[in-house]
């Protein structure tokens, strides 16, 4: 059934409609829910399976859109539910890998990560494969980080160009806890990704690193919000990417300092390299501030590769394509801090192939 969803990736404050960043309206043909074959990851000591009910104590907000979030919760056919036990030392990353196929073209994964106080957990979610135009993914990851816990989530997406890909992330972060989200978006025909970091506890921290690559007629649409509620909280949002072909990218990043969030700091940066006169790049770096004693900053740069750098690289014998690979690859590297070594080479190869 065709459903019309409004306010996908809605900007927290509306602005001129003609700029096209207030939020998207999409017609979505939701697939029939079928079991998705995904091996359950092995759990190291200190990590157990969690029940979704652990989330009832927190109020999550969806940056992607509440309707889509509700759909994913109700129709999930996959997902990991993890609980990091109190005070346990950090473990190896827990990896869940999903591949779309013609037989299983629709993935709806509902992921729950509950980190008890003073625990540490890293979760890697790998998405790939495809099923042409039938490819569909809607993922929701909700995180609770209790006092002084550390949670790292890495999402690596290399779906084929026919796939419609929705990714929603929401975290509630307690005193002294830290949540980091890494997103590498290298595939899919349409990507809509939201992230809402609720810095509820004092001295809580959030960080996002996003890399995107667009070509052909791809749509890349992001909406990130860091909401500072506790005192002395800290957020850092970094996004970088490259646009080829006639793709369109929209990046909304909002730092929201709520009254009472004194001594908090928020910083955001975006660096977009443009390689096509036909691409469209939209950025909306927003700061909302209801507290005096805070520091918020934004920086963005949009443009071609610096001619001087390109000339230098070519004078060292690199072809233009090699130079582009190098420059875009540098942006990818800057986002891969939390990506396991075993995955980095694969991502570099995928990117190199796309640019080539």
């Amino acid at each position: 059934m065709l459903t019309t969803l409004k306010n996908i990736n809605a900007l927290p404050v509306r602005t001129w409609r003609r700029l096209g960043v207030n939020g998207e309206t999409l017609d979505i043909e939701f697939p029939e829910p079928r079991v998705f074959p995904a091996p359950k990851p092995a759990l190291p000591e200190g990590i157990t399976r969690a029940h979704e009910s652990v989330l009832v104590c927190a109020e999550f907000k969806s940056a992607l859109g509440e309707e889509l979030s509700a759909y994913t919760r109700v129709h999930a056919n996959a997902g990991v539910r993890l609980r990091a036990l109190k005070g346990r030392p950090p473990t190896e990353p827990i990896t869940a890998s999903y591949t779309l196929t013609a037989e299983h073209p629709a993935l709806v994964d509902n992921n729950v990560i509950f980190a008890e106080a003073h625990s540490e957990i890293t979760v890697v979610l790998i998405y790939g494969g495809g099923a042409g135009e039938r490819g569909f993914h809607s993922g929701l990851t909700r995180v609770i980080a209790e006092n002084c816990a550390v949670v790292r989530v890495v999402q690596l997406q290399c779906f084929d160009a026919g796939t419609r890909h929705f990714s929603d992330f929401s975290a509630v972060i307690a005193n002294g806890a830290r949540v980091e989200l890494t997103r590498i978006e290298l595939g899919a025909g349409e990507t809509y990704a939201g992230c809402h970091m609720k810095l509820e506890g004092d001295k809580s921290e959030a960080r996002t690193d996003t890399f995107y690559f667009g070509d052909g007629t791809q749509t890349l649409d992001f909406n990130y919000v860091a909401r500072h509620l506790g005192r002395a909280t800290k957020s850092e949002m970094n996004a970088a990417g490259a646009l080829f072909g006639s793709c369109g990218k929209t990046y909304r990043g909002t730092i929201d300092f709520v009254a009472g969030a004194g001594e908090s700091k928020g910083a955001e940066s975006e660096n977009t390299l443009l390689f096509s006169e036909n691409s469209r790049n939209r950025s909306a770096p927003v700061i909302l501030c209801g507290e005096e004693n805070v520091e918020g900053s934004h920086a963005a740069s949009v443009g071609r590769i610096d001619e001087g750098k390109l000339y230098y690289l070519r004078s060292r014998g690199l072809t233009e394509t090699d130079a582009k690979r190098l420059m875009v690859g540098a942006l990818l590297e800057s986002a891969m801090k939390n990506v396991p070594e075993s995955e980095r080479e694969r991502l570099r190869a995928v990117l190199g192939e796309r640019i080539g």
Binding site: S276, E277, S279, V294, G296, S297, A300, G303
Partner: protein
């Protein structure tokens, strides 16, 4: 309930006490005014009173139709307190338009003299226009400027005189009534304002100024400013405005249309100091031809609610826009200001430098819109936005958007938000300066990049306004 009781009540704020210079109410009775509300009959009555030519009569009625079918904006500050049924859209003062200051009626003269307008004319202006409520009451231009072919007159004279066809060709062409609800309103009930025409190759070296004074309670002011600067010419135009405060909502929905010719340069400076019961929903737009330059210098201090985002359409190759603005939102104020630019041609460039200060529960928002069209290769954009929060009862938001449809661009954007450094205050206090003065000095320093862009007397006025707003900060 009486008619007046239905109007939105605007509470007095503590800071208002120090504004007598602006708040002194005029005693003049209007010669004519329409009843409150907005109907076809009211619009016709304005046309009748002004003696509009047929095309303008029709234009007003068409604009009214657009207004009636256009919803209010779904973004920006709330406009709930603005009820058009309670707004009087046309108030004609009991005075004719005069070219000699001595001929202006005493009551009006007193008002402008308190504001220093004639003094400013004597000391450093090429021409002055003064509007009182809905109509211009004084206009003059120095003979040496007029001798160069520069036309500076009120819109009524231009509309009905030898420049009527030029007005018709340009009137609400770059800011049409369909632009938004308040432009449609403007098209229906506009009155007053200035017309400036600078012929090709003429440099006007001293500024022209129009000053808008609003005296009637519960009324609206809808002046129209149309400036055409010819090829290779230059002009500095200054706009000032003020009104006494009433406890009912007033509305200002002016329209400024600027045409900057090839290689021409226009600086448009505004010190906005409306009273704090004003809804200031003003629209300004410039189109700039090849190698032309538009410079906006803007200080927003007054109004209860303000929406002001001058747009520059850089349609000629090598055209340039420069925006320097400061907004000071105090108690009870919600000021939503910023700039918009459309890069529509090759090698165009723009620079936006915006500063805002929020204090005493005031809310300031910087809103920006940068659009780069596919044709605008080689364009450069630089946006910098600094916000200062003076307490935690206030708000300061920054909402810039960049929409880029071409790859050969160089765009840089940076924004910062923060408070006054305690260290800096401590340092100044250790040198014997009181805390209030130390804060005012720091805020004045913060505003310095804007004040240095203004002629000296206006920079002094702006610094006085900041000092006024800063009083009793600690």
């Amino acid at each position: 309930m009486s008619g007046e009781d239905k109007r939105a009540l605007i509470p007095d704020e503590p800071d208002d006490a120090a504004r007598e210079m602006y708040d002194t109410k005029g005693v003049m009775k209007p010669r004519f005014q329409v009843s409150s509300g907005l109907t076809s009959e009211i619009v016709s009555a304005i046309s009748d009173e002004k003696g509009d030519p047929p095309w303008m009569r029709e234009f007003r009625q068409q604009s009214l139709a657009v207004y009636n079918e256009t919803p209010p904006p779904d973004w920006g500050p709330p406009l709930d307190g603005l009820d058009m049924e309670q707004i009087i859209t046309y108030v004609k003062p009991d005075a004719r338009m005069e070219a000699r200051w001595e001929d202006v009626p005493e009551e009006i003269k007193d008002t402008f003299e308190r504001l220093g307008i004639p003094e400013a004319e004597r000391t450093g202006l090429a021409g002055v226009g003064a509007q009182y409520d809905s109509e211009v009451v004084y206009h003059s231009v120095k003979s040496e400027v007029a001798d160069l072919g520069v036309v500076y007159t009120d819109m009524d004279t231009a509309l009905k005189g030898e420049y009527g066809e030029m007005v018709r060709q340009h009137f609400m062409k770059i800011l049409p009534p369909r632009e938004h609800r308040f432009m449609a309103l403007h098209g229906a009930v506009w009155s007053g304002g200035s017309f400036v025409y600078v012929p090709d190759g003429v440099e006007v070296t001293i500024p022209l100024q129009s000053y808008f004074r609003f005296n009637a309670a519960g009324a609206g002011q809808f002046e129209h400013t149309l400036i055409i600067v010819g090829k290779g010419s230059s002009l500095h135009f200054i706009e000032g405005c003020s009104a006494p405060k009433y406890n009912v909502a007033n509305l200002h929905a002016g329209c400024v249309e600027l045409y900057v010719g090839e290689g021409a340069r226009l600086r448009y400076s505004t010190i906005e100091n409306w009273s704090k019961n004003m809804y200031n929903l003003n629209s300004k737009r410039a189109v700039v031809d090849k190698n032309g330059i538009i410079e906006w210098v803007s200080g927003s201090f007054g109004s209860h609610t303000g929406c002001l985002y001058p747009m520059s359409v850089l349609r000629g190759e090598g055209a340039r826009m420069d925006y320097t603005g400061i907004t000071f939102a105090g108690a009870g104020q919600n000021l939503d200001t910023g700039a918009q630019v459309v890069h529509a041609a090759k090698n165009t460039s723009s620079r936006i430098s915006a500063k805002s200060i929020s204090k005493g529960g005031g809310k300031s928002t910087f809103r920006g819109g940068i659009t780069v069209a596919r044709e605008a290769t080689g364009c450069r954009v630089s946006v910098s936005c600094d916000s200062l929060m003076l307490d935690s009862r206030s708000r300061s938001d920054t909402v810039p958007v960049m929409d880029v449809r071409c790859d050969d661009v160089d765009i840089g954007y940076e924004a910062k938000i923060g408070r006054i450094s305690e260290q800096a205050i401590y340092y100044l206090m250790s040198r014997g300066i009181s805390e209030d003065d130390a804060r005012a000095m720091i805020v004045n320093g913060f505003a310095e990049p804007i004040s240095k862009e203004l002629p000296l007397e206006y920079a002094v006025e702006m610094n006085n306004l900041i000092s006024l707003e800063m009083k009793g900060n600690t």
